[in-house]
Amino acid sequence: MDYFYSYLILAEIYVLLGLSTNLLVGVVGIFSVSQAAVFGVGAYIVSDFLLSGTLSFLPALAVAAVACIVLNVLLTLPSLRVSGDYFVVTSFGIQLLATAVFTNWTGGTGGANGLPGVPPPDLFGFPLEETRQILGFTTVAAGLGCLAFWLAMRAPYGRLLKAIREDELAVAAAGKDVLRAKVSAAALAGAFAGVAGGVYATYMSFIDPSSFDLDASVLLLTMVVVGGARTLAGSIVGPFVLLALPQLLQLVAIPTTVAASARQLLYGVLLIAFAVFRPQGLAGERL
């Protein structure tokens, strides 16, 4: 039962990440392989505050969210200035740079050894130590994230973003501030990723660079592609399906040495298959 709970908790954390990636990739239409880097920054910020005892969980989470909003806006700004293809380079570069920082800046991140012993989340001095309590918390957090995404998408704001994805120039000609809309979408995506990072670190109690590397970013992108772009359903379905797949792989007898590459191989196959045969994913709109 605990095993199932931990699947649900992780899936709910990844729903927040799925919403974040969907906002950038599905809604605004930017190719991104660097959302795991933002996720990681959120995780390390919360871990550092909690391990040093300077801030308690919720304030630390707020700081992480703000930091990731700023970071994601800065990271996305080049995509507003240069053509989409050049942003591919930016995105890969940022992810590789972030991995280098996570791995080599031992002072802040523990380097390749990671940060052990991150305390569990606490709400107003009441620590959430049991799995079920944490599940309750992540359910509320993912629920709020979904509500925010849904409200944003059905508001004039969501309509504006969808129009921008189709034709930026036409939106500018209609008198709208394209830049502001895109920046705010990047900010929203950053807030989701930062919060997800903080919750992830406190739930796992141990983080290391492998959770925030290029493979992790590819996983996030795969979640959006498989789930489906621009819909709430797609953002929820993607993480739940993608996190269940490794469990299925375990049923097939694969030696543990190749398990990681088998998983990434599967993500690659899914990316190709959905791109060719089902660009709308399981429950979304066409990418």
């Binding site: 944003a152 004039p156 309509r159 129009a163 008198g175 709208k176």
Partner: protein, 254 residues
């Protein structure tokens, strides 16, 4: 007294190509002005300059006596000038109504904070905006197609929709890039009648048009552009009667 729209001394180079060459003209309020000239005369380029999509190398644009050059497109729409595109640039995955909604001036709920923290207020105001957008659709005769995705509309309906989206901005000077091109006779008459009606409602129109029959029927004034320069202007009859212009227009185009 300064003109309604005044373009003067605009130069624009693209690499080795002088797209606009000391281009200047003025437009009076309330009429339909047609801009004609062979392909590559710089008609779309001057549209891009007026509406802030291109910053010209030199020259300036003034509207109601106020300098516009250097402003961003959204500021120029706010000042009262809006444009359509030759290749329509509709949002084909959105509905007809949603396309018009994007054209309406920015309202509450178009920024994320308002949308997230005052959802009921956002929804209420959006309903009002939908009604407003619906009026624009009725205006061009597309009310019954409001909920249809644009990719399912006919080409003629799409052309009308670009005018509805343009009207939604509330701009008083409308720049239309070939609103009648590619239309069959029935749809053509519909568009021409619509342009006349807009003029009657107080809009000023600057129209790029290739079809001489359309120019003759709707234009109060004609600007003839050649090689990025205003070569001649006058009434449709004057322009069409000039053999030198006809030579450039038809000789140059063929």
């Amino acid at each position: 007294m300064s003109a309604y729209l005044e373009v003067s001394g605009v130069n624009q180079r693209f690499g080795g190509l002088q797209a606009l060459n000391d281009c200047g003209f003025a437009i009076a309020q309330g009429g339909i002005t047609c801009m004609v000239g062979p392909n590559g005369a710089g008609k779309t380029t001057i549209f891009n300059v007026i509406t802030g999509f291109l910053r010209p190398d030199t020259g300036h644009v003034a509207f109601r006596g106020r300098r516009l050059d250097g402003l961003r497109p959204q500021a120029i729409v706010a000042a009262g000038i809006a444009r359509s595109f030759q290749n329509l640039r509709l949002f084909v995955d959105l509905t007809a109504l949603e396309n018009v909604l994007i054209g309406l001036p920015s309202g509450f709920g178009e920024a994320p904070l308002g949308a997230l923290f005052r959802p009921f207020h956002t929804a209420r105001l959006d309903r009002a905006r939908r009604a407003q957008a619906m009026e624009r659709l009725e205006h061009v005769g597309l009310a019954d197609r409001a909920a249809e995705k644009v990719r399912n509309l006919s080409y003629g309906e799409q052309k009308l929709l670009t005018v509805a989206r343009l009207l939604a901005t509330g701009a008083e000077l409308l720049l239309l890039d070939e609103p009648a091109s590619g239309l069959a006779a029935g749809a053509l008459d519909q568009v021409m009648a619509l342009l006349r009606r807009l003029q009657g409602e107080g809009k000023t129109l600057l129209v790029v048009e290739h079809n001489t029959r359309v120019v003759q029927q709707i234009a109060d004034h004609v600007l003839f552009l050649h090689q990025g320069h205003l070569m001649a202007e006058g009434t449709p009859a004057q322009i069409i009667a000039d053999p030198a212009l006809a030579e450039i227009y038809f000789g140059g185009a063929l």
